[in-house]
């Protein structure tokens, strides 16, 4: 984290259980404005659960989530959006019966954008959605739906953006373009947490990463350093490779 900036989001000792399974087991992290943090780890390590708890979709079973120093645990999702938190979904969930433009307009109407955004056109242009603006979201391909999901999130003017596997399924050209877009957003002082399996993409966009395993942090730092840590190698490749 940049030492000169106060954290925008701080997660302390976060616990989330599903029955007897502890998906998050005392996770602690923080992120400053303008920073891009990667959350990586094997399947089931708690990355998406972490995003779901921060964005209010799941209530936490323990710990606290502080946004600008205020505890937002238990706050409903739409209030979090108004505070300045938004997210994309691992599987995009656009409003299929609505057009691309309407998908964005409804988020503009209800999202309380801090700069008072009133028109969907700048976002359509920015995310290359103008040509499909009047098509129903159900007619879009997977990559277009992902961009629409991102546009819906950006339409509310978030200061913290949680990005869940946005890169999966994109071709190399699209990956580079999306990576550039996220870095561009970070330069506007937006804090971004990126959950991703594609390490090349993580390396391209993040300032630092947290490696999770079984709901716990096992490493924090640069991705290039993470690949030299035996514990990280073990959870990704198995014990024989860590030796």
């Amino acid at each position: 984290m940049s030492p000169e900036k106060a954290p925008l989001l701080t997660v302390n000792n976060l616990v989330k259980r599903f029955g007897g399974f502890r998906a998050l087991d005392g996770l602690t992290l923080s992120i400053a404005p303008g920073e891009v943090l990667g959350l990586v780890g094997p399947n089931g390590s708690g990355k998406t659960t972490c995003i779901n708890v921060i964005s209010g979709l799941y209530p936490a079973d323990g710990g606290e989530v502080l946004f600008e120093g205020k505890d937002i645990s238990g706050t409903k999702s739409h209030h979090l959006v108004h505070l300045g938190i938004n997210r994309t979904f691992q599987v995009p969930k656009p409003f299929l019966a609505l057009t691309t433009r309407e998908n964005i307009e409804v988020a503009i109407a209800y999202g309380n954008h801090p700069q008072g955004l009133t028109d969907a056109q700048p976002l359509l242009d920015s995310l290359n959605l103008t040509k499909i603006a009047d098509r129903r979201a159900a007619e879009l391909n997977s990559a277009q739906q992902k961009m629409l999901d991102l546009a819906r999130a950006l339409a509310t003017g978030p200061r913290l953006l949680l990005v869940d596997e946005l890169a999966a399924g994109l071709n190399p050209g699209e990956l580079e373009w999306v990576g550039g877009k996220l870095k561009e957003l970070a330069r506007t002082n937006m804090a971004i947490i990126v959950v991703e399996h594609l390490m090349g993409f993580i390396e391209q966009v993040t300032d630092r990463v947290i490696v999770l395993n079984a709901g716990k942090e096992i490493f924090e730092g640069k991705l290039t350093e993470a690949v030299r840590v035996p514990q990280v190698i073990e959870v990704f490749l198995g014990g024989a490779h860590a030796a």
Partner: protein, 308 residues
């Protein structure tokens, strides 16, 4: 742009429908049939508000209709309220039932529909309980002598229909209607668009309850004599749902087309070939489900036409 759409829908659909239904009693003598058309035009739009815009299919929609009929009747019988004031009691009764049943909105899909049906049957059982004879007349039915005024009741039914049509036109042209459709499509994304899902859904639920409640009240006023089974009859829910689905929900025009065609056919074959009525009607509904699951208006929508 949105308000232009509202004006267009009002000018080309709401005004003509109300005008036609206002003129018809002077040229067609079967006023009860015309009144029933108005009732189903309104109820089908009530179903449209809930199902078309939020995705909840109310199998027990008649519960609100019956609550309205009894709210009206109890206000007339026990409070000696004039009919117009009793109509407010009809809306209040349906609204109160809507609030009581609001927890059902936590369910979804078939679970909601079945729970809603069970709730309407429970209300019927309570209303028709002989122990409540002093209040509801129990199973012996209601007779509202002294307030019978079919002309004024018909006019009020038209006013309720106009208000309902305008509300649906508003939903089709407003951000609130867009928000309801977003909720129907995906709850999580709707929340992350900043929509207060619980509040928006509740407003749609209560609006749909009020539409049926006021219509039930005006029905009680028009017929003046009825039994609990009359105003809690499953056919009200079934007809309103089938008419709305047949025409096409989420549109203003669809449910109107559904009522005009299906209720028209219902009355035609009921008179000309009553022995084949259920057979023909059953085939019509099966054809709808098989070939036009999104209703008649979807034929136009598939061709890129924006159906009002």
């Amino acid at each position: 742009m949105l308000s232009r759409r509202l004006l267009r829908d009002a000018a080309f659909i709401v005004v003509p429908v109300i005008a036609v239904m206002a003129i018809l009693p002077s040229v067609y003598s079967n006023h009860l049939l015309l009144f029933n058309f108005v009732v189903f035009l309104t109820l089908a739009q009530g179903v449209n508000i809930l199902y078309g815009f939020t995705g909840y299919l109310p199998f027990g929609y008649v519960g609100f209709f019956g609550a309205g009929a009894y709210g009206f009747s109890i206000a007339v019988l026990h409070l000696k309220a004039p009919p117009l004031a009793a109509l407010i009691a009809a809306g209040a009764a349906a609204g109160a039932l809507g609030l009581l049943l609001a927890p059902l909105l936590r369910l979804s899909g078939a679970y909601f529909s079945i729970a809603n049906l069970a709730a309407s049957l429970a209300v019927l059982q309570i209303i028709s309980n002989p122990n409540l004879e002093d209040i509801t007349r129990g199973p012996y039915g209601i007779s509202l002598s002294g307030v019978f005024n079919p002309t004024l009741a018909y006019a009020m039914a038209l006013a309720i229909l106009a208000a309902t049509l305008l509300f649906v036109a508003y939903l089709r042209s407003s951000n609130f209607g867009l928000a309801l459709q977003a909720i129907r499509e995906n709850l999580f994304s709707a929340s992350m668009a900043g929509i207060d899902v619980v509040r928006a859904r509740m407003i749609a639920w209560l609006a749909c309850a009020l539409v049926a409640g006021f219509t039930g009240g005006v029905f009680a006023w028009y017929v003046s004599v009825f039994f609990p089974e009359t105003v809690f009859g499953a056919e009200f829910s079934i007809f309103a749902i089938v008419f709305a689905l047949f025409g096409g929900t989420s549109t203003l025009l669809g449910p109107i087309v559904g009522v005009v065609i299906l209720y028209g056919v219902y009355n035609l074959i009921g008179v000309s070939a009553p022995q084949y009525f259920q057979l023909i009607y059953g085939f019509l509904i099966m054809a709808l489900v098989l070939f036009l699951p999104n209703g008649l208006t979807s034929l136009l929508q598939r061709r890129g036409i924006d159906v009002p």
